[in-house]
Amino acid sequence: MKARGEALPTQEMLINMGPQHPSTHGVLRVILRTDGEVVVNARPDVGYLHRALEKIGERVTYAQFMPFTDRLDYLASMNCNAAWAWAVEKLAGIEVPERAEYIRVIVCELNRISSHLIAFGSFTADMGAFTPFLYAIRERERINDLFEEICGNRLTYNYVRIGGVSADLPDRFLEKTKEFLDYFDPKIPEYNDLISYNKIFVHRLANVAVATPEDAVAYGLTGPNLRGSGVRFDLRRNEPYSVYPKIDFDICVGTGERGTVGDCFDRYMVRINEMRESVKILRQAIAQIPDGPVMAKVPRVFKPPVGEVYFRAENPRGETGIYLISDGTVNPYRLKIRAPSFVTMNIFEKITRGLMIADIVAVIGSFDIILPEIDR
C-alpha cells in the first residue's frame, strides 16, 4: 500500500506495542513503525524481566541453582532443570542411574506436551478463538496433577537433582500417566477439527512471516521454529543424550501444507505434531523403564573439577544451552544460559517487514517465545 500520488503526503506511524499488551506473551515491547496498516519496521525491545539469574548463579551452589532454572522457562520447568543437571553431570563426570534417566525423559516429555498445549492455546486465543485455550488448560491441569503427585508443585517443579531425581515415582504413577495418554490421544484430532484447519485460521497464518531454511539456520533458530522451516534437525536425534537413543520417534518438519514452508502455519503444525510424538515417546519410556536407584552418589559439598562445558538440550522452545565454567569451588565461576527464545527474537525484524499489524501478533505467537527466558 503506497501513498496515493504526490498530492497526499502520508506519514509513518510510530506505535508502541508496549510492555503491557495482551498478546506479547509477557513483557515484550515491540516498536512498530507502520505505514497505515502495513508494518515498515518492527523492533523488539527486551529486558523488562531481567532478574540477573546468571549472576545469582555465581553466588549459589550447583544444587541451589536448580530452583532458579525452574524460573528460566516456567512452562518447561522440568526441561530446564534437566538441562542444568545434565550440564553439571557432564562437567563432573557423574554417572546417572538408568531409572533416573528414564524418569527424567518421562517428565521432560510430559512437560513438552504441557508447554505445547499452552503455546497452542495462547496462540489461538491471540488469533481470536478463545475456546481452544480453555481446552488446552484443561488437558494441562491433568498433567499438573501428575506432576503434583511426583514432586509436589504444579508449576516450578525443582524435581531433577544433580545425579538423578529427588524422589522415586509415587504409587501407580505410571498407570496414571498411561491413563492420561489414553485420554489425550483423541484430543489432538479434536483440536485439528475445531481450529487447526479452520479456513479463517489457515488464512491468517498461511504464507505469513516465511522463514526460509537458510534464514532459519543463519539466525540461529532452533526447535520447532527451525523444524517449521523444513530443516530436519532435532537434538534428540542429532546429538542424542540421556536415553533418547533407545526410543523410537519421528521428527516433525514443516511441509508447507497450507502455504509456504516456514510460515506461521507450519510452525504451529509442527508443535501439534510434536505433541503426538511426545505421546509415543512416553508410551515407550513407560514400557522400558527399569528398576533401580534414582540418585547417584554425589558428595554433600559438591566441587566439580576445574573446566568448562557446554551442554544443549532440546527444550519445547528450542535448544537450551548451558555454558558452565567451574573453578573447583562450590559455586560456579560463570554460567551462561543460551535461551532459545532470545535467539529467536533476532529474526523478528527481518521476518516482519511488509506484514500487517495483526500479523505481528501471529508471528509472536507462532515463535512461542517466553519472556523470562529472553530476559533471564
Binding site: 506511524m13 506505535i15 499488551h21 495482551p22 498478546s23 496498516e37 489461538t124 486465543a125 491471540d126 488469533m127 481470536g128 478463538a129 478463545f130 475456546t131 480453555l134 481446552y135 484443561r138 475445531l194 481450529i195 479452520n198 479463517i200 485460521f201 488464512h203 491468517r204 500487517m356 499489524i357 495483526a358 500479523d359 501478533v361
Partner: protein, 372 residues
C-alpha cells in the same frame, strides 16, 4: 398508529377530552419509547449474562453463578460497578467529541428498536419505510465509532476506529441487498407488512426462507453480513482485544464504556429481529394463527414467538463467536467485496427472475396449489 391510540384513549377516558390531541399523542409516544428503551436495556443486560453463560458452557466451565439464583443478577452488579468507576477523559483528548461518541453509537443502535415488529400490533411505529429506516439509522454507529477512535488521542483507538468504519460501511451493501428479496416478495418496505406476507400455508411454509432457493441463501448471506455489521467475531477486528487492546473504546471507562457495550448487544438484537421478520416469518408459528386469537392473548403470544426466534438467532451469534478465530482486516474487506457483494447481487437477480417467472409465488405455494 399512535394517533389512533391517542384517539381511543381519549374516548375511553372522558376526563382527557379537554386536553389537545397532540399532547396526548406526545405523551403516548414518550410512554411507548420508554417501554421500548426499558426492554432494550434489560435485554442488553441479560444478553451479557447469557453470553457469559454460553461461553462458559462451551469452554467446559461454569459462567457467572454467584450473584443471584443462577448468577442472573450479574448484569446488575456489572452495571452498578461500571457506574461507580472513575470517569477518565485523556488529557489531550477532544473532550466534546469524546463525550459525544458513545451517545451516537447508542442512538444508532437503539433507535432501530422502534420499527421492530414484536408481535401483532406490537410495533412502536409502523413506518412505511421500515427497512430503509433501519439501514439508515444504524449507519450512525459508523460515525460514532470513528469519532470515538479519533477523539481518544490514542493510536490504537484510531486504528480501531478506522478499521471499524471501513468494515461497517463495506458490509452495509451486502446487508441491504440480502434484505431486498424479502422486500420484493412482500412488495413493501414496512416490516409489519413483510411479516404479514409470510402468513398462511400452515404458518411455516409461508416463511420467506422456504419461498425459493435464492431467499434461502439470502438468509445466510444476510446473517453473515449482519455479523460483520455488529462487529462480532469473526469480524471483531475493531475491538480485537488481543491485538488492538480493545480498539476504539480503549480509553473509555465506566458508563461510557457501558454504552458501547450495550449498543453492541442492541445491534445484535436488531439484526436478529430483522432476520426473523424478513426470513423466519416474524411471529408466525405452525398451526396457530396469532391474529385469530383474542386481542391481548394474541399480542402476548406473538410477542413470545417473535422473541423466541430473535433471541435464538442472538444465541447462534454467541455460539459462532466462541468458535471461530478472527479475520484480518484485509481478509475481511476481501470477503465483503469479492464474496458477499457478488453473491448477494446474484441472489437478487435470481429472486427477481423467479418472481417474474412464477408471478410472485414461492415453491410451497405452488405445491399447495397443485393440491387445490
Amino acid at each position: 398508529m399512535l394517533e389512533s391510540l391517542a384517539i381511543s384513549l381519549v374516548d375511553a377516558v372522558p376526563v382527557l377530552s379537554g386536553v389537545p390531541l397532540w399532547t396526548i399523542t406526545l405523551l403516548i409516544m414518550v410512554v411507548v419509547a420508554a417501554v421500548v428503551l426499558t426492554f432494550a436495556l434489560t435485554y442488553a443486560g441479560l444478553a451479557t449474562y447469557v453470553e457469559r453463560k454460553v461461553a462458559g458452557d462451551i469452554q467446559a466451565r461454569i459462567g457467572p453463578n454467584r450473584v443471584g439464583p443462577v448468577g442472573i443478577l450479574q448484569f446488575l452488579a456489572d452495571g452498578i460497578k461500571l457506574l461507580l468507576k472513575e470517569d477518565i477523559i485523556p488529557a489531550k483528548a477532544d473532550r466534546f467529541l469524546f463525550v459525544l461518541a458513545p451517545y451516537l453509537v447508542f442512538i444508532g443502535s437503539f433507535a432501530a428498536f422502534v420499527v421492530v415488529p414484536f408481535g401483532v400490533g406490537l410495533i412502536a411505529s409502523d413506518l412505511n419505510i421500515g427497512i430503509y429506516y433501519v439501514m439508515a439509522i444504524t449507519s450512525l454507529v459508523v460515525v460514532g465509532v470513528l469519532v470515538a477512535g479519533w477523539a481518544s488521542n490514542n493510536k490504537w483507538a484510531l486504528l480501531g476506529g478506522m478499521r471499524a468504519a471501513a468494515q461497517i460501511v463495506s458490509y452495509e451493501i451486502p446487508v441491504g441487498m440480502a434484505l431486498l428479496p424479502a422486500v420484493l416478495i412482500a412488495g413493501s418496505l414496512s416490516l409489519q407488512d413483510i411479516v404479514r406476507s409470510q402468513g398462511g400455508l400452515f404458518g411455516i411454509f409461508g416463511w420467506n426462507l422456504f419461498h425459493n432457493p435464492f431467499t434461502f441463501f439470502s438468509f445466510f448471506l444476510y446473517y453473515v453480513a449482519a455479523l460483520a455489521e455488529t462487529n462480532r467475531t469473526p469480524f471483531d477486528i475493531p475491538e480485537a482485544e488481543s491485538e488492538l487492546v480493545a480498539g476504539y473504546h480503549v480509553e473509555y471507562t465506566g458508563i461510557r464504556f457501558a454504552f458501547f457495550f450495550l449498543a453492541e448487544y442492541g445491534d445484535m438484537f436488531v439484526v436478529s429481529s430483522l432476520a426473523t421478520a424478513c426470513f423466519l416469518g416474524g411471529w408466525h408459528v405452525p398451526f396457530l394463527n396469532a391474529e385469530a386469537l383474542p386481542a391481548v392473548w394474541g399480542n402476548l403470544f406473538s410477542l413470545g414467538v417473535f422473541l423466541g426466534k430473535a433471541l435464538g438467532l442472538v444465541v447462534v451469534m454467541m455460539w459462532v463467536r466462541w468458535t471461530l478465530p478472527r479475520l484480518r482486516v484485509d481478509q475481511l474487506m476481501r470477503m465483503s467485496w469479492k464474496y458477499l457483494v457478488p453473491l448477494t447481487f446474484f441472489n437478487l437477480l435470481g429472486v427477481s427472475l423467479w418472481l417474474l417467472l412464477f408471478q410472485g409465488r414461492g415453491i410451497p405455494q405452488m405445491i399447495a396449489s397443485l393440491f387445490g
